[in-house]
Amino acid sequence: MVDVYLNQKFIGTVEDSKSFVENFKKDRRKGVIPKSLNIGYNSKQNEVFIDGVSGRSRRPLIIVKDGKSLLTDEHLEKLKKNEIIWDDLVEKGIIEYVDALEEDNCYVSLHEKDLDTEHTHLEIDPIIIFGLCSALVPYANCGQSSRLNRGQKTQKQSLGLYASNYLLRMDTDVSLLHYPQRPLVRSFLYDVFDQDKHPAGQNVVIALMSYEGYNMQDGIIINKGSIDRGFARSTYFRPYSVDELRYSGGLMDEISVPDKEVKGYKAEKDYKLLEDDGLVYSEARVNSDDVIVGKTSPPRFLGDLEEFSLTANIRRESSVTIKQGEEGIIDMVVVTENEEGNKLVRIRLRDERKPEIGDKFASRHGQKGVVGMIVDESDIPFSSTGIKPDLIFSPHSVPSRMTISHLIEIVGGKVGALSGRSIDGTTFDSEPVADLRKELLESGFRENGTETMYNGITGEKMEAKIFIGSMYYLKLKHLVANKIHARASGRIQLLTRQPIEGRAKGGGLRLGEMEKDCFVAHGASLLLKERFDSDKTNVYVCENCGMLAVSDEYRKKYFCTKCGTNVEITKIEISYAFKLLLDELKSLCIYPKLKLKSKY
């Protein structure tokens, strides 16, 4: 007696669970029972589960009978001729969809050649073990698994055509790659997934060599000529949004060019970009701190102002400016309403980004790197046929990481570029490397992909043969222009008087605990003090009671609130954080008495 559950609800019992499950499956394949139902027998709980709820994830498998796949060459032939389609195979009970529950009772073979009588299913293709992005990595079976993982991750960060309606969208922090290309070496799944509709990289000529040491430790060198020709150029979009807020008392913000009486009025020239409606005109070139929306807000503390002030309404200036460190061209200005019916203005800033030192690039094999130098085309090494690499990659990045697939892609890309076709790099089912080498040899090149190269500066022939070919490269979304940050002085926190945190607010760069240890280890005592001077203050200490005294700078009088004026009061320099510590100790009823002594 075995309990049977349908959609997690008990519906009855069966005597022989094995034959019940088998008959159920048989009937389902025949079409007697809906194909959307899955059945599983759990031997641990000795229960049969039938599931048909929506939202389960199911995957297709080829049914195997007596060690033979039900999908025959005949079917494949018909499929090719378009006589039957996928759904016909499902209908006929050749392919079935299996959910997680039923999967537990299945014995699935990855390859057809491995089939034996115990197998119940056959995988449609071994590449199914990968996810969408991993399946796009060419020759993934020739690389380390962890590198495949990383290669897959970088693809998600690459710039490309992220959405074809990008012109109408207001996405935050997106970029668009100019002239994206389809890869020379690609997986069969590239076409299946329609990647052509949103390509994400460009094919480059890549040479594996060092160049003046500027590509060590995962640095890459880029040919300036390639950049001039449009390699890895992208456009960065940033939206700004402004609401016309309503306040209590019927007052509200007003989007317009501010009047000169307004409190906090900048200068006339600061509003020069604004049109009559108080908004910038599109295609305006803007820089940091430029006003793009003129806005005024009602005064902050209304109550007392209106009664006593003669000038009835002094409004505040609250215009929106371009963020620090950003520039570009106003791409689009949209005026709409928000949910509350207030006026909403959204402005999209567009900025063209040429590759620069510090931008991140990656191949599809987990080989990511940062631009270390951009070299004039005249100084780039060239091959005997005059080919100059777009990108120079360090050979030291390969051995320890064992990304053979990276090297194969270069050979494949070279063959593809020479023969004018795309190379099939589908994992487990790719064009054999031996064939690629043979074809390369037939095209008149060395079969291992190396070529004689000449120093671009001196013209000397290089002793080593350089490995050079074509490969698909991705520009990743981590652009230096969005990350660069430095500060000399600026805003501080109210409580601690230390610099505020974060790039967006123009904050400081923290010299942390471990960095402090480094200073101490070097014995750079005075330098360390100088670094921590950001919150130094002068305080007056009563030498009698050892507590902080009061200084009246206006009358030049110094006194202790406890001991009066007739005591010695001394000025000392400490960090403001320590003053706070003293205050906190006092709040704990601990008396921190300072005993002063001359340092020298």
Binding site: G523, D533, F578, L585
Partner: protein, 376 residues
């Protein structure tokens, strides 16, 4: 002239004699020796403590990344890597895997049989293991025990001495030996049934052979002699076993070493254990850093860890202690006794934003004012 320490001076003298140097050469040699000796000394104000801390800290970040575990190896499991290093520096009272390497005197370690015998003597064996069956006779208030003959053979013990062992640890029990390899035990006192049952359990736990706390023994060949690896440590009792070479036998519990062999031995043990961990991880930390830590941990005569209850808790400065762990506790306790902070070390001065007294912050300026001479 700087005083050269004895060991170096002695060696220098020997070399001078050996090379038969002339007087001029000796003078030159001494100058060079002095110069090199001075060069090798640590400069005043060098932050050796923090350099040691960084020297351990930086490589140990890599240690966690490559954790090797010897799955399936039929050896006793030992804590290694970062957990062990933390255990050493924190000076935990008991190591998580106490181990002992027992060396044997040459006369006892030449054959495998002899070594096995000693190993069997070391392993903690309770009466339970000599017994196949126990039963209670509630009418006669007696305990019947059936003995395991093979176990007696294995250890090389007779029933008589077994009975003696039981008698010495359970004084109230009267034991009678029966013919069919079994014993009858009766108490000299009147017992309730519960007490009888308790007595039975007590008998099971009597230590018959071996050293307390040694749960496992494993004779292995090291070089060209046999040593016995033990899980669990007990240096004191192992030393009483014949054939054990106490000059070389070591334990990884340095509190025990400090108790049995003294603080200098404990210091050496800390150095050994720490270097072992570092070596196993394939790292390279200068021995002087380990020496410094071991010195600091043992310099007041007992083993102290680098914790708030150990040496960090003995720091002179209140602020320095408060900045390490449990600040409020330290501040309040300091205020109760009116402690004074002299601001003599690094952390307090960082807190106050004053130059720290190491490196360039150490030297002060002493200006000698010349008195004006009235003669002119």
């Amino acid at each position: 002239m700087v005083k050269i320490p004895g060991k170096i001076a002695d060696r220098a003298k020997k070399e001078i004699k050996k090379e038969k140097l002339s007087k001029k050469e000796i003078e030159k040699f001494n100058l060079e020796l002095e110069k090199r000796y001075n060069d090798a000394k640590i400069d005043p104000g060098e932050s050796i403590g923090i350099i040691t801390a960084e020297s351990f800290g930086e490589p140990s970040t890599q240690m966690t990344l490559n954790v090797f575990h010897f799955a399936g190896v039929a050896e006793v499991s030992v804590t290694v890597g970062l957990p062990r290093l933390i255990e050493i520096f924190d000076a935990r009272k008991k190591p998580s895997t106490p181990m002992m390497e027992v060396y044997l005197k040459a006369s006892h370690s030449n054959t495998v049989e002899k070594v096995r015998k000693i190993a069997a003597l070391i392993k903690e064996t309770k009466a339970e293991e000599f017994v196949t069956e126990t039963s209670l006779d509630l009418v006669k208030m007696a305990i019947f025990i059936k003995l395991n003959k093979e176990k007696f053979k294995e250890v090389g013990m007779n029933v008589k001495s077994f009975v003696e062992k039981l008698n010495t640890s359970l004084k109230t029990v009267v034991i009678k030996e029966l013919k069919d390899n079994s014993l009858v035990l009766r108490s000299s006192k009147q017992l309730t049934i519960q007490e009888l049952y308790k007595l039975k359990e007590k008998i099971k736990g009597v230590l018959v052979v071996g050293v307390k706390n040694i749960t496992q023994v494993l004779p292995i060949k090291k070089g060209n002699e046999f040593i016995i690896m033990c899980a669990g440590t007990n240096l004191k009792d192992v030393s009483k076993i014949e054939g054990v070479d106490m000059t070389r036998t070591i334990s990884n519990d340095f509190f025990e070493i400090a108790d049995v062999l003294g603080i200098e031995a404990a210091r050496a043990a800390i150095i050994d254990e720490a270097s072992k961990v570092i070596e196993q991880q394939g790292l390279d930390i200068d021995i002087r850093h380990i020496l410094l830590v071991a010195d600091v941990m043992t310099n007041n005569g007992r083993v102290q860890g680098i914790t708030r209850t150990g040496i960090t808790g003995e720091k002179e400065s209140v602020l320095a202690r408060a900045s390490f762990e449990t600040p409020i506790k330290h501040l309040i306790n300091a205020s109760l006794v009116g402690e004074e902070d002299k601001l003599n070390s690094v952390i307090e001065n960082v807190m106050l934003n004053q130059p720290v007294p190491t490196g360039t912050g150490l030297p002060g300026l002493l200006a000698k004012m010349k008195e004006k001479s009235d003669k002119k």
